[in-house]
């Protein structure tokens, strides 16, 4: 079997992406197409396809995610698709979004860190996020009681349409803070996290 030309590859890759149940990596596509096909060639053709979709303004876009390539509809078409599905949009509560933001930006973090930053108990919200696989346990912290550390996984990136955590919107910084206070706050920020383990003592003491 001779190597496929670009036009052929384009339609084949289009077919594979169309029929794929989830994101597909260049390597997986290459393996399905031809034993000698280098994944880099597939990536290049995928780029051509993506560009073609953009230029012809198709109803879907070819997006690169952490787990591979996927065809996705355009955000501006969401309302029509929901009407077709008779489905209510997927929703995350504000509490869930706040918790998720803390975990995504500060991972790995413990429940205590999240509770301290939010000022409320995050148990129920954490459970929802774990159930929806947006958050996962990534280890244990070397502290008394070995608290579980949480972080985000591939499902988080897939849900938000990101290639990596580096694509997260940048965090607002304390840039309006006067420099002397900024210094004080920074030294406190490390101390505060540790002090939280002793939350009760703090509020009374």
């Amino acid at each position: 079997m001779k190597l496929l030309d670009t036009a052929e590859l384009k339609t084949l890759i289009e077919a594979l992406l169309f029929a794929a149940p989830g994101p597909v990596r260049a390597g997986q596509l290459a393996a399905a197409l031809h034993p000698d096909l280098p994944p880099a060639r597939v990536s290049a053709v995928v780029e051509l396809l993506a560009e073609e979709y953009r230029q012809t303004r198709r109803g879907f876009v070819l997006q690169e995610l952490a787990e591979g390539y996927q065809l996705r509809t355009r955000p501006e078409h969401a309302e029509y698709i929901r009407r077709l599905h008779h489905s209510r949009p997927v929703r995350l509560s504000r509490a869930a979004l706040e918790t998720l933001a803390i975990i995504a930006y500060r991972q790995p973090v413990t429940r205590a860190d999240v509770d301290y930053l939010r000022g409320v108990d995050s148990g129920a919200v954490m459970k929802t996020l774990l159930d929806r696989h947006l958050v996962r346990m990534v280890g244990r912290k070397d502290l008394p009681g070995r608290p579980v550390l949480y972080g985000t996984g591939p499902e988080f990136l897939e849900f938000f349409g990101l290639r990596s955590l580096a694509e997260l919107p940048s965090l607002p910084e304390f840039n309006e803070l006067p420099p002397d206070l900024l210094e004080a706050v920074e030294s406190l920020s490390t101390a505060a996290g540790e002090a939280f383990a002793d939350q009760d003592g703090k509020s009374q003491g």
Partner: protein, 254 residues
């Protein structure tokens, strides 16, 4: 003064404090502690007067505020005794507020991203299509699966309560006619769409009974692609079918 405490909106004491600071145009880096404490306690009072249960976290923050206030009022012992730099008792609170505000904003920017299932969608490929063991033949649905489907529908949380004024009298015969009407437009319909159509439990049960009666009368057939697959209602060619539906009394549902 009037407080507009929108319960949904306060996710905790930090959120409430941030709101009060903004509302009263206070400087977050130089919080007037006496004033914010008074505002905060007043807000808690409002919540109490509305008979809301105040979460423990709100009370902890109240005590923190009072503690800071007292420390500001009393001359610091350490500062008098030695020349160690005096730490502003508000500093930790300011830090927590700033951090909280940061993540609150981050949460808002996360929400603006195109979310899968809300803004963007991917193709839904049924497991059966991928498994390849589906010969496309439809088969009768065992009774237990039908009952299981009803149980699942009943387990779904009921929709938020709507205050009813008049009580509607639901009729199995009427519902059966409506189901036939739906089926006259399309030869087959998903069972879950017909029975579970976002309705209340009473309507759900009446619809389920109506579907069973229709099946008994031979006006619809209940089929599925394979065990545990989606259940479909199929119209049976027989016209005029609606005439064959007896009144409720004949079904024995009165």
């Amino acid at each position: 003064m009037a407080y507009h405490i929108d319960l949904e909106n306060f996710k905790g004491p930090l959120d409430l404090l941030l709101h009060l600071i903004k509302q009263h145009e206070m400087d977050i880096y130089d919080i007037p502690i006496a004033e914010i404490t008074a505002q905060y306690l007043a807000a808690l009072d409002t919540m109490k007067s509305l008979n809301l249960e105040i979460a423990g976290e709100f009370l902890v923050m109240a005590s923190t505020l009072l503690h800071i206030k007292s420390r500001l009022l009393l001359p610091s012992r350490e500062a008098a005794d030695n020349d160690e730099e005096e730490v502003d008792p508000r500093e930790e609170l300011v830090h927590r507020l700033l951090e909280y505000q940061k993540y609150k904003e981050a949460a808002q920017s996360l929400e603006r991203l195109p979310l899968l299932g809300r803004d963007v969608f991917v193709r839904q490929i049924a497991d059966e299509a991928m498994a390849g063991n589906d010969d496309g033949e439809l088969q009768p649905v065992p009774l237990f699966e039908l009952v299981e489907a009803l149980r699942r529908l009943l387990q779904e949380p009921p929709p938020p309560p709507v205050h009813e004024v008049a009580r509607e009298r639901l009729s199995v015969a009427e519902r059966a006619r409506q189901v036939l009407e739906l089926l006259s437009r399309r030869p087959q319909l998903p069972f879950l769409d017909v029975v579970g159509l976002g309705c209340d439990r009473e309507l759900l049960i009446v619809t389920f009974l109506a579907v069973l009666e229709l099946a008994k009368l031979g006006l619809v057939r209940i089929l599925q692609g394979q065990h545990h697959a989606a259940i479909w209602l199929h119209a049976v060619e027989q016209r005029p079918a609606a005439a064959a539906i007896p009144v409720d009394e004949a079904f024995g549902y009165c």
